[in-house]
């Protein structure tokens, strides 16, 4: 690593010294080093490396806090492990906080005390971002979103082509009234996508469009801003995260829509539903819901009819961390599945105890850590295999991507589907 400049260090320490509220202060003071969280983390469980225990990740940031923000850390650093911010520390932080944490929050729920480890990891990433030390691949993903409006830099013409192709497919199945409306105004819903959908999985767009058609929904997709993702959440640069979130927020006004519906993307949903208003420092003036909640409402209100006998294979569900443990949609997901499939088996553990797929926290965007990502994914692969399921459903395109790779590498022989796809398969069109 290159020598850190005083300016870099000052920027990072400024963040640490600012501490805007009691949450960070609390979590930097609360860990008792019991070490019991180790077995809750996929990284430690798989790689057996002490550096990847959740508590060690907290300790990196806490050691800096003690050094620069406490009297005892200044007077007797050896007593409380107060460490300076230098090249070695920055290197350790980059490796552990970017390279060995999906920010899944599993350890948080199980911590003896209640330390929000993922929150501290995110704060550590913010410090690294302030020093310009975001891994190049992750930064490239953020830059693509900032420069082109979507993180895969898909040209608008290509996007429109894909949508038109999907619309033709949809019309073949449902008739000419079925549409994928682009850039229309004054609709009820502005729908968003993970750019992986137009790029690799366009059928999931068609599946959702079929559900919208069945529900007689008034909706549109904007070609200017359809990307639900926000990798600023993971890079730790809140200014970038804010710019990306603001663009989507503003697009709802540009298109005069009433509801922003977040496509099937865990972190994108989190970044817009929970963090977006905080990036922008004001509440959203319109309703923001996830695709999972929307589909759930359609089923409960009878706006769509399902015949679960159309899905006969054994299905299991992968709970995306950002939608379930960090988003509260555990029961909504299960209700939707229960109405859509005949045979269902839970993974062990599941729900808010579920293991991350291994691709969260920006890991899928950081090819530097690919080997680790696949290694920790073995836990998820084993969970899937143990259910005996033939289909894995998950409402997150990042998870889908990771699960497809795990499926190939660990030879699981399963199909991976989104919620929209499994629901669309059970749809009865009247």
């Amino acid at each position: 690593m290159e020598k850190l400049t005083t300016e870099q260090i000052d920027k990072a320490l400024h963040l640490l010294k600012m501490r805007p509220d009691s949450k960070l202060e609390t979590h930097l003071n609360a860990c008792v080093h019991c070490g019991l969280c180790a077995e809750s983390c996929m990284y430690y469980k798989t790689l057996h490396d002490d550096r990847y225990m959740p508590a060690r990740k907290v300790e990196l940031v806490a050691a800096l806090y003690r050094k620069y923000c406490t009297l005892i850390g200044r007077v007797a650093p050896f007593l409380v492990n107060a460490r300076p911010l230098d090249e070695q520390m920055a290197e350790e932080m980059t490796d552990a906080l970017f390279g060995a944490c999906t920010m899944c929050g599993r350890c948080v729920k199980h911590c003896s005390i209640g330390v929000d480890i993922a929150y501290v990891v995110h704060f550590g990433r913010r410090m690294l971002a302030a020093m310009g030390l975001v891994p190049a691949t992750l930064q490239a993903t953020v830059d693509a979103a900032l420069q082109t409006g979507n993180n895969m830099a898909i040209p608008t013409a290509d996007f429109v082509d894909t949508i038109q192709w999907m619309e033709e497919d949809l019309q073949d199945e449902c008739g000419s009234e079925a549409r994928i409306p682009l850039n229309e105004t004054d609709k009820n819903i502005l729908y968003t996508l993970n750019p992986r959908e137009p790029k690799f999985f366009p059928l999931s767009i068609a599946a959702l469009a079929k559900i919208f058609f069945a529900a007689k929904e008034s909706w549109t997709i904007s070609t200017d801003m359809y990307d639900v993702t926000n990798y600023g959440l993971f890079s730790g640069n809140n200014e970038h995260a804010k710019s990306i979130a603001k663009r989507l927020h503003d697009e709802v006004f540009n298109k005069h829509c009433k509801i922003l519906v977040l496509g099937e993307c865990g972190h994108g949903s989190r970044a817009n539903r929970w963090e977006g208003p905080n990036y922008l420092q004001h509440s959203y003036e319109f309703e923001t819901i996830t695709a999972v909640e929307l589909i759930n409402t359609y089923i409960r209100e009878g706006r769509i009819k399902l015949d679960k006998s159309l899905n006969q294979e054994l299905v299991t569900l992968h709970d995306p961390c950002n939608l379930v443990r960090n988003g509260g949609l555990e029961s909504e997901l299960r209700y939707t599945i229960s109405q859509s499939v005949t045979h269902f088996k839970e993974m062990t553990p599941h729900g808010i105890d579920n293991f991350c797929c291994g691709g969260g926290g920006g890991q899928l965007a950081m090819s530097e850590y690919n080997e680790r990502r696949i290694a920790i994914g073995k836990i998820k692969a084993d969970q899937i295999r143990n259910t005996g399921a033939k289909v894995v459903v998950t409402p997150c395109h990042n998870c889908v991507d990771q699960l497809i790779q795990l499926n190939n590498i660990y030879k699981l022989n399963v199909k991976i589907k989104t919620i929209a796809e499994i629901v669309a398969d059970a749809l009865v069109l009247e």
Binding site: P20, D21, H27, H33, L36, C111, I113, S283
Partner: protein, 208 residues
């Protein structure tokens, strides 16, 4: 009252003031402002955070580590009894305790001290614990275990162990606010923030 009583009392005042400072700092810094639309119930989530969520069957840190968890629990029980006795000793001398009560208390605290010693040894012997620990961790455990042992000795032989008991308590009380033992306060703050985080998003209490 002898000099050592005053010493203990003075340490208690310093401890209380220091912990109050920590507490007031948290209050001054306040809650993070959350502009997102709340979907859960904060009161229920907070109640859950401090009760059911703490149950051993709800946390891997408990049910995957039964021996360590049990040792930790007994260690804490021994500490709580010792703290309670420290307060009681200002009003009732250990010599006035009925023998049966002294014996029961001794057994309980001894179990705590034994567990504290066991946890200290584990911290020294197990590599992952050693890598995670620093001087503060060893010292905090050592001072607390010693506190329990001196409480027992003071209970059994009050005249012989009074000065040394109060000196140990003084060191412990002065150390608490600067070392990790301040989790006596931050534990509650952490549970509070966790309950708030999960409650805001309708994750806690869980709905099945």
């Amino acid at each position: 009252m002898y000099w050592y009583h005053y010493l203990g009392l003075a340490a208690l005042v310093v401890f209380a003031v220091a912990m109050l400072w920590h507490f007031l700092r948290l209050i001054r810094e306040g809650n993070p402002k959350d502009f997102s639309k709340k979907t859960g119930n904060l009161v229920k989530a907070e109640a859950y955070a401090y009760t059911t969520a703490m149950m051993p069957n709800h946390k891997e840190t408990a049910y995957l580590h039964i021996p360590t968890f049990t040792a930790g629990a007994l260690f804490h029980i021994g500490t709580f009894i010792s703290i309670l006795l420290f307060a009681v000793f200002f009003f009732i001398s250990p010599a006035q305790f009925p023998l049966w009560l002294s014996r029961i208390l001794t057994v309980c605290i001894l179990a705590g001290a034994a567990c504290g010693t066991g946890l200290l040894i584990k911290r020294m012997v197990v590599k992952k614990m050693r890598d995670l620990s620093h001087l503060d961790d060893y010292l905090s455990n050592f001072l607390t275990t010693l506190f329990q042992l001196f409480t027992i000795l003071y209970l059994m032989l009050p005249h012989m162990f009074a000065p040394v008991y109060y000196i140990e308590v003084t060191v412990l009380l002065l150390y608490m606010p600067i070392g990790k033992l301040r989790h006596v306060l931050y534990f509650f703050a952490a549970r509070y923030h966790l309950g708030r985080f999960y409650g805001w998003r309708n994750v806690w209490p869980p709905k099945k």
